[in-house]
Symmetry: C2
Subunit: 383 residues, 2 copies
C-alpha cells in the first residue's frame, strides 16, 4: 500500500522537475508510511525522497518502532552527533531543485535547508491524498457510522438545564466507548450561539422558551478512528419550530440537495458524450446562489472540504477553489444560514440563530454516495 504511494510521489516529482522532496507535515508522513505516532505539535520526523533514496528521519525515541513499521523507507536516526545536515550534505549535489511543503515547513527549517540546497520550491504533497482508495473510504465510513450512532445517542440526551459543554462531554464519552475520538473539538451551539459558525462550546444552558418555541441546537462534530476522520452537522430544535425556523431549515436542506443534484447531473452527462469537468467552485456556487435567491445571506464559509487523515484537506468546495472533483474524492457539503434576527418572531428581542446541515460524500463515477446517514428531516425535541 505504501510503496505505490511513494512511487506516485516520485512520478509527481518528475512532473514538477524536482530531484527530491522534504516532507514535514505529519499527515503526509502518515499517508506515506502508515506510522501515525509523531506529534502534531512538535517536529519529530521528516521524509526525504530522491530518485534513488527514500529516508525517514527521526530520533532514537521512534527508531525501534519505525524500523518495524516502516520497512519501505531507510531510517536516518538523527542525534546530536549525527544531525540531519549530514544527510543533506550527502545528497546536496544530486538535488538541483528540492521540493518542500511551504505551508508546513518553518522559516527556521528553511534557513538550514538553504545551506545545502540552492533551489527550493513548493511541492503539494497533500494533493496526493485527495483521491481515496477503497480501504480509506471504508475507514471514513466507519468513522461516519460511529458519528451517526453518536448523533442518535445525543439527541436522546437533550434536556432542560443541560449545558453545551455537558453535551459535548456526553458525546465524547459515547464516541470513546466505541473506541474512537473526536476528530476536532465539537461545536455544540444553543440558541443564538448557533449564529456563529465556529461557536466555542461553552456554559450556555438549554432552557424552555416562553411559548415553548423552538430553541436551536446546532451539533457539528466528527469522529476519528483508524486515523481517518468524519465530520457532520445537524441542527435540531428544542420545542416547537417557528415558521421562520422551518423555512430556513428547508432552504438549507434544499441547498444541500441542489449541490448534490448538480454533481449527479454532471456525472450523468458525462456517462453520455460529455467530457465536462466537475469544478468544485461550481458546486459551491449552486448551493450559495440558491440560498441567496431565497433572500438569505450568503454562506460565510466554504460549501465543503475534503476529509481523510485530516478534517480539512483537498479538495476545497469554495468560490475561489480551482480544484476539479474526481472519483474517489471524499468531501463535505455543508450549507448554512446564519442570521441575527430569527428564532423568536414574537419576541421584540433581536435574536441570532443559525442552521447548518453537513454530510460527507464520496464521488463515484455513477454519482455521489452519502457516507453520513443521520436523519435530515426536521427534529423537534419535545419539551
Amino acid at each position: 500500500m505504501f510503496k505505490p504511494r511513494i512511487n506516485n510521489l516520485r512520478h509527481k516529482l518528475l512532473e514538477e522537475k524536482l530531484d527530491g522532496v522534504l516532507i514535514s507535515s505529519v499527515s503526509n508522513i502518515s499517508y506515506l508510511t502508515g506510522f501515525t505516532n509523531f506529534s502534531e505539535k512538535e517536529r519529530e520526523a521528516y521524509i526525504f525522497i530522491g530518485s534513488d533514496f527514500a529516508y525517514i528521519i527521526t530520533d532514537a525515541r521512534y527508531s525501534e518502532a519505525v524500523k518495524k513499521q516502516v520497512p519501505h523507507l531507510t531510517l536516518f536516526e538523527r542525534s546530536h552527533n549525527k544531525p540531519t545536515k549530514t544527510l543533506f550534505k550527502k545528497h546536496q549535489k544530486e538535488i538541483k531543485q528540492l521540493g518542500i511543503e511551504e505551508d508546513n515547513l518553518t522559516v527556521l527549517e528553511h534557513k538550514s535547508l538553504s545551506k545545502h540546497f540552492k533551489k527550493i520550491k513548493h511541492f503539494d504533497v497533500s494533493g496526493l491524498r485527495s483521491i481515496k482508495n477503497e480501504k480509506e473510504i471504508s475507514k471514513i465510513e466507519k468513522a461516519c457510522r460511529i458519528g451517526d450512532l453518536a448523533f442518535d445517542y445525543i439527541v436522546k440526551k437533550i434536556r432542560t438545564g443541560v449545558t453545551e459543554k455537558q453535551m459535548a462531554e456526553e458525546l465524547e464519552n459515547f464516541i470513546r466507548s466505541k473506541g474512537a475520538r473526536f476528530s476536532f473539538p465539537p461545536i455544540i451551539a444553543f440558541g443564538k450561539n448557533s449564529s456563529v459558525p465556529h461557536h466555542q462550546t461553552g456554559p450556555s444552558t438549554l432552557f424552555v422558551r416562553s411559548g415553548r418555541e423552538g430553541l436551536i441546537i446546532l451539533l457539528d462534530f466528527g469522529v476519528k478512528v483508524d486515523n481517518y476522520c468524519s465530520d457532520m452537522t445537524r441542527t435540531v430544535f428544542f420545542g416547537k419550530l417557528t415558521g421562520k425556523q422551518k423555512e430556513i431549515y428547508e432552504v438549507v436542506l434544499a441547498a444541500q440537495q441542489k449541490a448534490v443534484g448538480y454533481i449527479n447531473s454532471v456525472l450523468r452527462l458525462r456517462s453520455g458524450s460529455s467530457t465536462r469537468s466537475l469544478k468544485a467552485s461550481e458546486v459551491d456556487k449552486v448551493a450559495r446562489d440558491y440560498i441567496v435567491s431565497k433572500g438569505y445571506p450568503t454562506i460565510p464559509h466554504s460549501l465543503g472540504h475534503g476529509i481523510g487523515l485530516e478534517v480539512h484537506e483537498h479538495p476545497s468546495l469554495s468560490p475561489k477553489s480551482r480544484e476539479i472533483l474526481q472519483e474517489g474524492m471524499v468531501f463535505s457539503i455543508e450549507p448554512g444560514i446564519y442570521i441575527p434576527d430569527f428564532g423568536s418572531p414574537r419576541s421584540t428581542r433581536v435574536e441570532a440563530g443559525g442552521v447548518r446541515i453537513e454530510d460527507l460524500f464520496v464521488l463515484k463515477d455513477n454519482g455521489l454516495r452519502q457516507l453520513t446517514n443521520s436523519p435530515k428531516g426536521i427534529i423537534s425535541v419535545n419539551i
Copy 2:
C-alpha cells in the same frame, strides 16, 4: 494581567531594535490574550504589535468571542474582501524591521510578509513565558495535584492481563472525571517497552513473570487544566524487584536528588555573597555525570524542560542549553536509565528495560519547590 504582558513584549522589541512583531504560535497568542480557542492544527489567528498599535487578526468565526474576551487588542477581522495584507500595507512604512517566530511561521507566510517588510528577523516570544507568576504556578500545581491523584488511582488498577492501552484509557477517564485532560499522549510502557524513552502505548499485556520477578511499568503522563500543563513519570514494578532493578531505580532517584541538591546549593551560596548564575546545562551535567559514574549509559534525552501553556517550553535543561535558571521558572527534572540487558538476570533472553523518575519543580529564591508529589520510594505491586 494581559496588558503588562504586552508592555513587557514591547520592551523586548525595543531591546531587539524591532519596530513590530507578528506572533503566530497559538501558545504565545494564548499567553498574550487569555483566549485559548484557536486551533493548534490550522492557522486561525495572529497578533501584530507595533509601538502604537496592537491587533489580533482572526476571522468572522472568532470575532464575537475575541471582541468580548480580548478587549486589550484591536480586532482585525480578515476576510476575502479584507485580507490581512491590507493591514500590513497600512503599517509597512513604520516598521523598518519586523520580528517573527521563525520556528513557527511557515515559509509560505514568510513569503507574503516579505512583500511588505524588507527586514524580518527572529524574535523569541516564547522566552517571555519562562518565568511564571503566582497565578500560573498555582494552575500548574492544580494540574500536578490531579496528576498525583491519577497516579494513586492507576497504581491500584495494575493487574495481570491489562494492556498498556487499557491503562491509558483508565487514566484518561479518571483525569477527565476531574475536569481535566491529558497534556500529551501518555507513555505507558510494560517490561522491555520501558527501554524506549518515548514508547508508543500499545497492546502489550501485563503478565506474571516466572519466579514472580518484577516487570517494569513506566508511566509518563501529564494533565492539562485551565490551559496549564503538568508532566510526571513514575516507574513501578509488577512483582518482586530484582537486585539490578533496585540498583538502577536508586541510581535514577539519586541522580534527580543530586540535580535538586545542586540547584539548592547554588541558591544557598547566592543568599550569601555569591552572584553565581545557575546554568541549566550544569544542572543537566550533575545528574548525567552521576549516572555515567555509576557505570550506566548517559541519559538519551535532556534532563528536563520548562512547562506551562505547553508541555515543552523554556528553559531546556540539556548539555547544549545556554539558559540561566531564574526564580519563577517551572521545569521538570527527569533522569532515566535505559539499557537492553536488565530486568531478568536469571533469564538467558536479552531483555530491555528503563527507569525514569520525573517531577516538576518551581525555582524560588530560597530553593526548589516540588510541584508533583507522588511517592518516589520503590513501588512493587503484589501479584
